[in-house]
């Protein structure tokens, strides 16, 4: 090739001109693609779930996208824990163009590493379909957006209406800690488990910590603690564990042998009165039967400190990112935009899988009763947090807090030494670059 050019004695200046023109052409093409992402070509989508319901939902989305644009989409699914554990490697290798991920710290981390595509222009187009809080959760530390929200779910106290009616409890009227303890005592008296709990996966109990800390010490302390501005050895954190310990007699004893779905089974099989978890498992109830789903209800965790009331809730947002190392960035963006646009949201809703979408356009009149109740629980809160492992450093949450909570379950009397150890492990973390 080079020889050929030399042989024809191409004028160097001409060559440069050509290159400049070509460059402009390329730049123009990308600008065009940026303006009107009518991206073509095959692309791939990475789902971080292999469960029945969400798979059906996401495949509905992808099929609708293909039907609209004619772009073929390869659907690749990975089990969620495996997907999370391999994400760094995945994003550095040959990732799917558009993939399912979480908002907040977990997205920011990868955006900071330059592994995600800036979606600000997508937000310019579909941003008005979302409330400001979703935009904040989708924004990286550099102020650009890297995430398109799909859905949210609140963490709350779930129970079965029929079961509570039978026992004669009215969970809606559980307003404070004393009411809650009395209800748990009543359940225990009936030979039932008060609060179904799990922590085999190492993350399930983080939700309980979040809510106890937020209720007792307030949103600001919780956020500051997770950001390292407050100390784990603080008496206020000890207070959290003191209250947690009061719950232990009402929990199943095999907390460390159950993962979240094991604890969910306790509620499903009516062995437990309450289950504190994210409402996503409503889809699992629906897989069982419509009757089980209709029986499911949620109330906010009771007030524990009048100063803070019930003003905070963990309501993690799931959604989509576009991988920079993907083969088709423009295509990935186009799919992410479609997923965030009401059109894509509708495609997911049309699959019949219950979803509380982040999109304002989802008409709440289409919500079923359980979804409306989720919305009510969500709306009661003034502050929204994501979840412990989405609100703090990943090298702290998984490898350090997870095992610490597990060892607390083994020996609740060791609270002080566990908290001291947590603080010293936090202090030993390298500064974030």
């Amino acid at each position: 090739m080079l020889n050929k050019i030399a042989g024809h004695e191409v004028d160097r200046r001409l060559l440069l001109k050509g290159a400049a023109a070509g460059g402009l052409g390329i730049a123009g093409a990308t600008m065009l693609a940026g303006c009107a992402p009518s991206a073509a070509g095959p692309l791939s989508f990475g789902a971080r779930t292999v469960d029945e319901s969400p798979t059906k939902q996401l495949q509905g989305l992808v099929a609708a996208y293909t039907a609209k644009t004619g772009n073929e989409v390869a659907y690749n699914a990975t089990e969620s824990n495996a997907f999370q554990n391999n994400l760094s490697q995945y994003l550095q290798g040959t990732p799917d163009d558009c993939f399912q991920w979480m908002a907040g710290f977990r997205m920011q981390f990868f955006a900071d590493q330059g592994l995600l595509v800036d979606l600000s222009d997508v937000w310019n187009e579909i941003g008005d379909q979302y409330n400001e809080s979703y935009k904040i959760a989708s924004t990286g530390s550099d102020g650009k957006q890297y995430f398109v929200p799909q859905s949210w779910y609140p963490w709350g106290l779930h129970f079965r209406k029929s079961m509570m009616a039978e026992i004669g409890l009215t969970p809606e009227s559980i307003n404070n800690w004393d009411d809650f303890m009395a209800a748990l005592g009543e359940l225990k008296g009936q030979g039932l488990i008060g609060l179904a709990s799990a922590d085999k996966g190492g993350w399930e109990a983080m939700g309980t910590f979040d809510i106890l800390n937020a209720r007792l010490n307030g949103y600001q302390f919780h956020v500051d603690l997770l950001a390292g501005r407050e100390k784990w050895t603080d008496d206020r954190v000890k207070e959290v564990f003191r209250h947690w310990e009061m719950l232990l007699p009402y929990m199943n004893t095999n907390v460390l042998d159950l993962e979240w779905d094991g604890a969910m089974q306790l509620l499903l099989q009516k062995q437990a009165g309450f289950f504190f978890n994210g409402s996503w498992f409503g889809a699992n109830f629906l897989e069982q039967s419509q009757e089980d789903y209709d029986d499911l209800w949620i109330v906010p965790w009771p007030e524990m400190n009048p100063d803070h009331g019930r003003d905070t809730i963990d309501a993690p947002i799931d959604g989509f990112c576009v991988a920079k190392n993907g083969a088709n960035n423009a295509g990935g963006k186009d799919l992410a935009k479609f997923a965030g646009d009401m059109e894509g949201v509708q495609a997911m809703l049309d699959t019949g899988i219950p979803m509380t979408s982040a999109n304002k356009g989802q008409d709440t009149s289409t919500y079923d009763a359980f979804q409306l109740q989720q919305l009510a629980v969500m709306n009661e809160a003034k502050y929204i947090t994501q979840f412990l492992d989405r609100d703090t450093r990943p090298d702290f949450a998984g490898p350090i807090i997870g095992p610490a909570f597990q060892s607390w379950f083994k020996d609740p009397s060791s609270t002080n030494s566990i908290l001291e150890s947590l603080q010293s492990q936090w202090d030993a973390l390298p500064a974030l670059s």
Binding site: Q113, K200, G202, D257, D395, P399, P430
Partner: protein, 307 residues
């Protein structure tokens, strides 16, 4: 090319003790060079890189983010991570269990089968069967059996809430895991030892019995001595198997700290978003733990041999 050939034949004439033609050399070079290159690229390079990275802070993503950390990762592990000591405890119990119970049991079985006790073929295949399964598969099978909604709890008619916490309760989860691991390890040792026993000269045994030695004396003083090379292999395997344990525990507990072992700690600190070079430091510690006792033992053995 032809010049090279004459040169080669020239040297062949002058030097009689010449074995390799140029073609042989190329072939040999190729056959040694390629595996050596692969070995260095796939074993030594990652190993040395891991050792070096264990002295740094790094999220494993951008090379320019690597920061020198000195001994901080190790300091952190030894002084700040209670889970390290928990894991070390579990690995030590694992090692002792294999050493005192599983391995001797395998040796005993091998000896019995070698003595051709009645039904020895049945025992041999029954004990060997688990060895053909990978540890991951072993984990999956036992998990089906023992988890709260598993087969055993179902058989006992226990609902999930009252299920025996085989994997969750610290009082016995480690022993459950030990039994699972032994299930496979015993058969493995048995097979290795059996192969060794078959090679022992029958006349040794005969001579011992003529001298009036009991069965036990024969085994202890004659057979065991004749089996020295196999014993070394078995010892090394026992140490390595118990320290490198990972797959079975990972299948059951995932990367959470349900039953902490060093292998899982390496993974937990180096995989995923929580990646830090603490994982590399764990890997180096694990490597030293495995290699030091083995080298020490072999050293001593060779010294004895020389005497």
């Amino acid at each position: 090319m032809s010049q090279l050939k004459t040169a080669v034949t020239g040297t062949q004439k002058t030097r009689r003790r010449r074995f390799f033609s140029a073609r042989d050399k190329v072939t040999l070079g190729f056959f040694i060079g390629v595996p050596t290159f692969l070995h260095i690229a796939l074993v030594w390079f990652p190993a040395i890189a891991t050792i070096m990275l264990s002295f740094t802070y790094w999220t494993g993503i951008r090379l320019e983010d690597i920061q020198w950390a000195g001994l901080a990762n190790y300091e952190n592990i030894f002084f700040n991570s209670p889970i390290f000591w928990d894991a070390l405890r579990v690995n030590t119990i694992w090692l002792l269990w294999f050493f005192v119970i599983a391995t001797p049991l395998g040796v005993l079985l091998a000896y019995q089968i070698d003595r051709q006790i009645r039904g020895h073929q049945f025992y041999q295949s029954a004990y060997y069967l688990p060895v053909v399964l990978s540890l991951a598969v072993t984990g999956i099978i036992w998990n089906f059996l023992l988890r709260p909604d598993g087969f055993v709890n179902g058989l006992l008619g226990l609902p999930i809430a009252e299920a025996i916490s085989f994997f969750g309760d610290d009082r016995y989860n480690i022993w459950v895991i030990m039994i699972m691991a032994s299930w496979r390890h015993i058969g493995y040792i048995m097979l290795l030892y059996l192969a060794g026993l078959k090679a022992v000269d029958a006349s040794l045994r005969e001579a011992a019995s003529i001298d009036g030695a009991t069965e036990w004396q024969t085994f202890l003083k004659v057979i065991l001595g004749a089996m020295r090379p196999v014993n070394i292999i078995i010892l090394v395997i026992t140490i390595i198997e118990s320290l490198r344990a990972f797959d079975m525990v990972y299948i059951i507990y995932g990367s959470s700290g349900g039953l902490p072992i060093l292998g899982v700690l390496v993974y937990n600190n180096i995989a995923g978003e929580g990646a830090s070079m603490k994982g590399a430091a764990y890997a180096v510690i694990l490597f030293l733990l495995s290699i030091v006792p083995i080298i020490a033992y072999l050293n001593q053995q060779f010294k004895e041999d020389n005497n």
